[in-house]
């Protein structure tokens, strides 16, 4: 009986912080909008139609750096200042990397295919470590069925015969 009739809580009460924690975002937004309406009716505003901002394709830039792709301003030659020489390589290569985003030809020590192969087997071997004994057996049967490569015959534990 008491549950059917819900007492209507006042708006001021609903605006309090402890009441808002449980609300979802939609009701919060609605409450905020209502509040804004109350305030904005008192405020004066210009009765103009909404102006669409023209999408401008032109960016105004007052600096020469992006236009001419200038190098970094600090340089050192013939090893006069080794830190600056390192910095030169770093800054100029970082700048070039930003340009060449499409080609990702980073020279790696290990080729991608090699990496994929190794990783594949690595995941398998480490995964097996955490399997229980029963699962290991199942895995073994699956391996024998699905594996194309000839696998070594696993040496099972042979119970010593009396």
């Amino acid at each position: 009986m008491a549950g059917e009739v819900k007492t209507k809580l006042s708006k001021n009460l609903l605006r309090m912080k402890f009441m808002q924690r449980g609300l979802d975002s939609e009701t919060k937004k609605q409450l905020e909008e209502e509040e804004k309406k109350i305030i904005s009716e008192e405020h004066w505003y210009l009765d103009l139609p909404e102006l669409k901002e023209k999408e401008s394709f032109i960016i105004e830039e007052r600096s020469f750096m992006p236009c001419e792709d200038l190098l970094y301003g600090r340089m050192s030659f013939k090893g006069f200042n080794p830190e600056i020489e390192k910095l030169m390589i770093q800054m100029n290569s970082r700048y070039k990397k930003e340009e060449i985003e499409a080609d990702d030809t980073a020279e790696a020590d290990v080729s991608d295919e090699e990496m994929a192969r190794r990783y594949e087997t690595l995941v398998g071997t480490i995964g097996k470590k955490f399997l229980k004994k029963r699962d290991q057996r199942v895995l073994q049967d699956e391996d024998e069925n699905s594996n194309m490569r000839p696998s070594k015959a696993k040496k099972m534990f042979l119970k010593p015969q009396d």
């Binding site: 600096s63 236009c67 301003g73 340089m75 013939k78 600056i84």
Partner: protein
């Protein structure tokens, strides 16, 4: 009157490499204003990316308005469509520097006032530099900067309405070569156009100079260059070459270098 106004307005692509004067209007290829208009571009054409309107140009109505006299330059859009559209700018010559946000400059500390330093960068106002804007600086650990020191830093605030502010760290908090420049060496002034020429990606002058002696050099976009070599004589030679190469042709330069490398 109308004819004169129309005569000034030419498509931008035609005038690349020519002298433009303030007041010239450069027309740009019309951008599709409505979505339906995009169809006429054709399947092969890339969508026009954002065009960069560089120094000396301003956007106005139909195209770009030239505000400085000089040669019109253009850079093709790089990357596969997603990158920036092309860039137009005016290659002009001037000696007086105007602070621009993001530029790396060499400044001289003039006043040390409490928390900030006032740095003379050659502009109309002195730039302010906070003592916390150095790598590893905290309230207890102040940087060792005295009046008269040379600072290599970049602008974070630089517009006509506010006093320019500079810092000696980048956005991630690392110095990256900025900060106080060493005590020895020679600071001299050149025109702004020469600095841009020297810092261009394939500058032969710098490469040839690098073959001569070991030395260190810092270029400030405000027209200041700092050089340090092992002996005073070598420092002066490098400084003289840099000042002179603005007006030398390539052959004169190679002759000068040949004479020097003989010694």
């Amino acid at each position: 009157m109308a004819a004169a106004a129309e005569a000034g307005a030419l498509p931008a692509e035609e005038r690349v490499g020519q002298v433009v004067l303030p007041g010239d209007v450069l027309l740009l290829p019309s951008h599709p204003e409505a979505d339906g208009a995009r169809l006429w571009l054709g399947p092969g054409a890339a969508l026009p990316g954002r065009l960069v309107c560089g120094p000396g140009l301003r956007s106005c109505g139909a195209g770009l308005l030239v505000t400085k006299g000089g040669l019109l330059r253009h850079r093709q859009p790089g990357g596969a469509g997603g990158g920036s559209g092309g860039a137009y700018w005016v290659d002009s010559q001037q000696k007086r520097y105007v602070p621009v946000k993001g530029d790396h400059v060499i400044g001289i500390v003039t006043i040390k006032a409490g928390d900030i330093f006032k740095v003379d960068v050659g502009g109309s106002e002195q730039a302010s530099l906070s003592y916390l804007a150095f790598e590893g600086a905290t309230k207890r650990n102040r940087p060792n900067v005295q009046v008269g020191d040379l600072i290599y830093g970049q602008f974070v605030v630089a517009n006509k309405d506010m006093e320019p502010e500079m810092v000696c760290i980048d956005s991630s908090g690392r110095a990256n070569g900025m900060g106080v420049i060493g005590h020895e060496g020679l600071l001299f002034k050149v025109s702004l156009g020469l600095i841009r020429k020297l810092l261009a990606p394939n500058c032969e002058i710098i490469q040839e100079l690098g073959q001569l002696y070991p030395f260190e050099i810092v270029f400030g976009m405000n027209g200041r260059i700092w050089v340090k070599a092992k002996t005073i004589q070598q420092t002066l030679i490098v400084a003289n070459i840099l000042e002179a190469c603005e007006h030398m042709t390539a052959e004169q330069r190679t002759q000068a270098f040949a004479k020097l490398s003989e010694r």
